[in-house]
Amino acid sequence: MSGPSPAPRADQSAGERVDLLAALKEAALAGAVAFGLFALLIGIRTEQGPSGALVIATRFGTLAGFVGAAFVGRFILAVTRHRLAIRASLFAPPAVKRAAAALSPYLALILLIIALIVPVLFYRNRYVLDLAILIVTYIMLGFGLNIVVGLAGLLDLGYVAFYAVGAYSYALIAQDFGLSFWVCLPLAGIFAAFAGLLLGFPVLRLRGDYLAIVTLGFGEIIRLVLLNWQNLTGGPNGISGIPRPSFFGLPFNAGANGFAATFGLRYSPTHRIVFLYYLILALALLTNWVTLRLRRLPIGRAWEALREDEIACRALGINTTSTKLTAFAMGAMFGGFAGAFFATRQGFISPESFTFSESALVLAIVVLGGMGSQLGVALAATVMLGGFELFREFDQYRMLVFGAAMVAIVIYRPRGLVATRTPSVSMRERKPIPADVVRDARTESPA
């Protein structure tokens, strides 16, 4: 792309002159669309008149500004479009690209080291620690959902349901039976896995959009049950006073048998935060390890084969029912672990925390990361949640900036940040497979 020879450039400038009319047409069309969109939104506004009644005020100047901006912007884009490809190399000069290529094999290791030393670097910065915990929680959720969506290709829009089941299981068991975190954690995972099976059975025959709709409904059902089953879940009031985690029996308090006193440290509330950080990091790494191992076992390969072609799987003697159910159960179990962690960190949970937007966020992380890529999920969670915080000062424009960033990614990296699939086994060398031949959860299986 870089360094075009003089000859094609001359051709391009000749083409440019001819295309001017087409560019004008295109810009006029964009202007018309902008007018249609903004005429009522921007052009007319209701205001309180002097008598207190609503009056219609017009803002034709602003409207003209919007339409003009659309027209001019589209015109410039249309005229300079053929040069954009060349200009794209300006954003990433060859030197940067070379450096990135050299570093990319070690990227996972570098990220891991950074993740390990975050509490050391930011020990005094509570805000960063809390953000880091949040990011790693979403990385863990992303890993869990990645099993269902990325590997098995089952589009799940109700993943938050398992997060909720895990959180409520932990909260209720810890409160009512007084069991410790380490006993409740696997129980929460098991309950969530059961919820996964419960969802799995009715949707065995569904794929793609239809599956997405049913799972979306399932997520809402769980939330509504939590909201209305007052006796058990406390309804909208949620559950408060959930036991805090202890360091293998040593509570994080200022008492004589607390964590700080036992190790001869000065008591600090940060101890607990750091412990929570390492706890969720360990859980996320466990999820990652299990997923990477499963990918190389028959079950993981069967999941991927299921994503690629379900009918061929059945013709090869793979029990697709149990394969799908294990995918749902596995994904749900890790969601349940994350939920249990969430409950113990917050100390308070309510149905408010488990809305559809959580599912959407986790799914966005998986899709943005590149379906099936563990590294991609970790990067995407960091970029998305980090980005949320970074743009905090933009205040009301935060979502706008965020939306624009998402659009840019969809255009330039439609298959996610890590757009290759690594084979699970190889004869000579493991060559990454470009994403365009790999099927994903959004594509229907061939009929």
């Binding site: 084969a305 013709a315 090869l316 086994v425 190889s426």
Partner: protein
């Protein structure tokens, strides 16, 4: 086999011999693929019975088994009319997935495999050896680590055949294996199918429109038309059967089965 008011295959009975190549031919819409889907369990026949006897005397009633058991226990493998590969997986992975049930048992249904059991590693190594053997047989060994979706069409067909063989079938059902192949490729296919029968003792049932392939390699030919059997015999018998000629070339109302048809 009935779909609503349409009877796709009816009153059909034939035997596919052990270690023999049986071809199933007939005009478009005669019910060949429907029959295949019944045999491999993708459809459940409304009436009738499909019996498979292994060399060791075990018998399976295919119409009662779910499709994955037909492949797993009754050991019937199939290929598809429009190739169905795992496009995003490598050739090797495609053949390893075909050995799912063996590997699954060896991995202790994932539990042992998760902790890296030695016996699983051994089984996986032998699965790779088997995949290597079949890739070599179909001439794709050099591309083992490439994505299956990146292969040209003829190679995809060969890979699908190799994948079916990796399931250790007793009966191999091929739906138009020569479709889209050039002359050289279909000649290679003929040799390969004969080798499967003679060296590996596989029984083959194939649907094919390419009469060159059918007449050359079949031990027996069954002809279907409108869902019923109209002829059944050796290639030479079927070639001269007037009702087959009528089904393929059509006959006028008056001149059905006239000597003119027989002369052909």
């Amino acid at each position: 086999m009935r779909f609503g008011g349409l009877v796709a295959v009816s009153d059909l009975s034939f035997d596919a011999g052990e270690r023999a190549i049986t071809a199933l031919i007939g005009p478009n819409g005669a019910g060949k693929t429907t029959l295949f889907n019944c045999i491999t369990g993708f459809y459940k026949p409304t009436v009738g019975r499909l019996l498979l006897t292994h060399a060791d005397g075990n018998t399976f009633l295919l119409e009662r088994l779910p499709e994955f058991r037909i492949a797993k226990d009754a050991r019937v493998a199939r290929t598809f009319q429009n190739v169905r590969l795992f496009a995003g997986m490598t050739l090797l992975e495609n053949l390893i997935v075909a050995q799912h049930n063996t590997l699954m048992a060896a991995s202790g249904f994932t539990v042992l495999g998760l902790f890296g059991s030695l016996s699983y590693a051994r089984t996986e190594a032998s699965a790779i050896d088997k995949a290597r053997y079949w890739l070599d047989r179909v001439g794709l060994i050099d591309r083992a680590d490439e994505a299956a979706g990146a292969l040209p069409y003829g190679a995809q067909r060969r890979l699908e055949l190799a994948r079916a063989m990796c399931t250790d079938p007793v009966l191999l059902c091929l739906d138009e294996p020569a479709a889209g192949l050039n002359n050289r490729e279909s000649a290679e296919l003929n040799g390969f199918l004969r080798a499967l029968r003679d060296e590996h003792g596989i029984s083959i049932l194939l649907i094919e429109h390419d009469m060159g392939v059918v007449m050359e390699i079949s031990d027996r030919i069954v002809v279907l038309d409108y869902g019923t059997k109209i002829a059944d015999g050796t290639p030479a018998e079927v070639r001269n059967d007037p009702s087959v000629i009528a089904a393929y070339l059509g006959v006028g109302d008056e001149e059905a089965l006239t000597p003119r048809a027989e002369r052909m």
